[in-house]
Symmetry: D2
Subunit: 143 residues, 4 copies
């Protein structure tokens, strides 16, 4: 079971993750080590080619892995991304993006997650992401 609730995430986003808040990212579902997040389509996301800008996908993936990680370790706001690698696979059109994040390893100091990003209504993968988070030493900043 997740160590955090959807409400915990909503509060975190509102208070502390303005990037997610500003872009309207939402949390669709939450499980232990898993999160599905959504970027509701906004015309400001577009770039040349009528496709959604890469940074929106990178931000959405980062948000998804952050939530998936917190579902395993609880609310540790100072967990930070140390590496993110994204492969852009196809160009999403002007639709919502859905990102399915899951942790593939959660260690004491480092955690690695993977995200698959889809365009709503299609099962073609639009981007694939892996990211590493650094977890601060216990006691140093557990909320």
């Amino acid at each position: 079971m997740s160590k955090i609730s959807i409400n915990d995430v909503l509060q975190l986003v509102e208070e502390q993750l303005p990037f997610a808040a500003e872009h309207g990212f939402t949390l669709e579902s939450l499980g232990r080590g898993r999160a599905t997040v959504r970027a509701p389509y906004l015309s400001k996301f577009l770039r040349p080619g009528d496709t959604i800008a890469g940074p929106v996908m990178m931000g959405l993936a980062d948000y998804g892995i952050y939530v998936a990680l917190l579902s395993e370790i609880g609310i540790v706001p100072l967990a930070v991304t140390t590496n993110l690698n994204i492969n852009f696979l196809s160009r999403p059109g002007p639709h919502d993006l859905i990102a399915e994040a899951r942790m593939i390893k959660t260690g004491k100091r480092l955690a690695v997650g993977e995200v698959e990003i889809f365009s709503e209504g299609s099962d073609t993968l639009v981007a694939h992401v892996t990211a590493t988070y650094s977890i601060p030493p216990l006691g140093s900043e557990q909320k």
Copy 2:
């Protein structure tokens, strides 16, 4: 010499790169295969730890490499990122970010660039990025 002018970039950003426009990214200097871009500090960029959110840095790096690439191949709006890898090295405080992008290989079909991101007033690297762009076949979309 750059194949594009600073005005070309400003027009491109305004018309076609709303992510860069919305976040207030600016172009500081431009050379053949090189661009220095800036993210003027906005409080909405912050995340827990009083540091700037990763997606802002990823977006800034992507913008810098895009401009550096266009400086070598001219205005090809449909050049798209295929891979971006970022290492976050230290936590930038609430200051402007400066990103120095340069192409390390510009081939016919693929181009690879590198970006170093600094926090204004410090020479400590805050993030290091490499990214690959796919260049559409000649004639297919040259503007």
Copy 3:
């Protein structure tokens, strides 16, 4: 169904992939867009900590994705890796390594695959890899 046979791969390895041959890598199974490959344990693979050296895992992953790609496009020896990103998740002991490779996107010019590497007899992931291959234009080198 795979466009190549296990025999095609064995011949390719023997004639053209001395790195795989020299390290004794074997092909365990082959499907359309999928390959499972093995690195039988050799003491020369060890590094400090009684764990298997990273380059062995990188080489095995690269080999697995190459075979998975050829299973979709046929024998195109000049398909080359353009990017490989590996996350090392836990330290494999002195055992065989098994790598499960699958393509996540096979386009006309670029293909992206993913590999999960396990240590024989354990279901703990030891490494996760994504890699991009560039596919040469049709006709230029199809064997």
Copy 4:
């Protein structure tokens, strides 16, 4: 000044880095946070296209960063790679490879290095690598 000597590295390679030893990798020069290493050409390195196999370059880069890191932190054999990202830029012919590694951040727990790989006698970059090492807690395994 480097915290280790060339002799320290030679001993480490012979005793503990069979992958480097087996492939004949050599150390050309060593400075604080920097190392230049070489893969003398061997015909077994070739892959289709008369070019050197990717795993040789990945192994050489990993070795170079390992040495560059130890030059800053001393002999800590259990420092391990957690992430490596390589972009292959051009195909090296049958010549020695030279890799210039330098640390771009050496923290207490994580260190990130960058490597440029050249083919002997040419100043065209053949590959670019970034890699992250995890440094074990002090006292736990300092030799």
